[in-house]
Symmetry: C2
Subunit: 334 residues, 2 copies
């Protein structure tokens, strides 16, 4: 494999390699030489080797992106947004898929820490002490997506209010027996904040929180199915269910339908996510739309800003973007 390098180009153009380098970078070259060089470079399709450049300048034009599970609708849309944005500036992205393993998150933070990337965009599910301690030791920009955090620039969703609004929607329709299906509160956004929204909405309407109406599982349809079964087989049965994710809700709907309950006549159901599924189930699921692609774009944008402060990365830039949400009111509630 013959690599044509800057020296070859210099020879062909009859100048020194410094001049070629200047042509490529600051552009400080006479018009005469500029033309000659341009011609040579076009005809040879020469591209500077990025590793050599990186070694010298410590700039890689690579952004490390850590995602919990690339094969989810959420993560893949976020990645799409990041990719669209940073590629405008000549950056590429290095994907680290953690398969929801915290150990792998730490591992990839470590890997990215030492080399290879100019910045990290971390799509987080939780930020433990361990996360924060290694993140603090990283000397280049980190942007967090999907969790709110004091310590880093971040793009997050308004989980508390989305959840609260959704539950208020049910309350406004007169519902008082509203069950909640959630996930572990270690997941601050989905587990903790959405639960808080649920509780506060009830409080605001003077409805007392009932332990039997509160269930916790994982993100799967199965989990939704099982927990709906639990809910409907206890003495006190809800007349509405709010699930923290579409998958859970759809799983629950499946149980309800299997058991002959009519949605929304017998029971209402809603959730958060606006997944493709939510739009094709019967009845169509009432849910909250989150702007995942936008989240990725904004995250990429912040990263580009941070990297642009060529006076060196300033820890002072702490942009935090609350992305909001849009209620998608469809036919699963009454």
């Amino acid at each position: 494999m013959i690599i044509i390098n800057i020296i070859e180009i210099a020879k062909l153009a009859g100048v020194s390699k410094s001049t070629i380098s200047r042509y490529l970078n600051d552009g400080y070259v006479s018009d005469k030489n500029r033309l000659k060089i341009q011609k040579i470079i076009n005809s040879t399709a020469y591209k500077p080797l990025c590793h050599a450049k990186a070694l010298r300048t410590k700039i890689t034009n690579l952004i490390g992106v850590i995602v919990p599970k690339i094969s989810t609708e959420t993560a893949s849309r976020v990645v799409e947004g990041i990719s669209n944005e940073v590629s405008k500036y000549g950056y590429d992205i290095l994907i680290a898929n953690t398969n929801l393993s915290v150990d792998k998150e730490i591992k990839y933070l470590e890997i990215f820490k030492n080399n290879q990337v100019d910045g990290i965009i971390f799509m987080a599910t939780k930020l433990t002490e361990k996360h924060l301690s290694i993140m603090d030791s990283i000397e280049f920009p980190i942007v967090v997506i999907a969790q709110k955090t004091e310590n880093y620039p971040c793009v997050y969703y308004d989980d508390y209010n989305a959840s609260k609004d959704m539950v208020k929607l049910l309350l406004n329709k007169g519902h008082r027996e509203i069950a909640f299906i959630g996930v572990t509160e270690e997941d601050i956004s989905v587990g903790f904040e959405r639960k808080r929204g649920y509780i506060d909405a009830l409080k605001e309407y003077g409805v007392s929180y009932k332990e039997e109406f509160f269930k916790k599982g994982d993100f799967s349809m199965d989990s939704g199915y099982k927990l709906a079964a639990e809910l409907m087989n206890q003495n006190e049965k809800p007349k509405a269910i709010f699930a923290v994710s579409d998958s859970i809700a759809v799983g629950a709907m499946q149980y309800l339908t299997d058991m002959g309950y009519k949605i929304p006549e017998d029971i209402s159901i809603c959730s958060i996510g606006d997944s493709k599924m939510s739009r094709v189930v019967t009845p169509k699921l009432t849910t909250a739309h989150y702007f995942h692609k936008t989240a990725g774009e904004k995250g990429g944008e912040i990263m580009m800003e941070l990297l642009n402060k060529n006076s060196g990365y300033s820890k002072k830039i702490m942009k935090k973007i609350n992305l909001g949400y849009r209620l998608e009111i469809r036919n699963s509630i009454k």
Copy 2:
């Protein structure tokens, strides 16, 4: 940002940097020194700079992955498979999202060609002359996923037979008026091969192909909706529809349901994809399951093999993997 380098480590360990390098690579070091070095490296958390290494060895431990649209279920699962597989061997992946633009495919092939990666995994929708010409000029391994090609190792789906089997399923149920909703034949796998399967299935059963039953659109639900409308508003109406993708089929189902047709009583429908959607629509969609994650894993596996022939990359290794499919017979056909 202070970078601790191999020289520092060498000083601390009281040996030369060559010894450190050997410790890190071939391991040709005395036990005494090995222990000393190990201690130093652990206490300093030293990691060799990969760009310096890459510059010297021409090995980057990076695989470029080109996908048509990362936010689709298909692509994101393929990427997950690739990532899982190659990360076992210490490789990372660089994602290029082309947003279905052929120009961008070419652009990224060019970018990856010149530097940066040890191999390319290309999830292709079509392979034009332009693609092949630049691919031929690339001197390191390329693996193609989702299209069958003579020139490169590839992992592909059996589109012809999946399609044929699906249509035969309808024929076996006694259907004779079977419509087809496809996409452009430039997409060899989805457009051309699946159409061929449809036609040959009909032929095998002595059913004549009718122009009015053949529709072509894009991959969207909208397209399915509109083309179903066309089909049902012409003189000759089908009693069954085979769509080349789940999205198209679900769009069509929506039209049919909106118009009061009963599925499968009035009309049967099936497709290929086994997307999440297909499992939650009513009735559940009969479709063919493709092993996307496996495709990614196999693609990664082939790449690792190609890269392992450390006698240099041999163009002779031409593994081609036909992944098969599994029919998911559900309630949308009768």
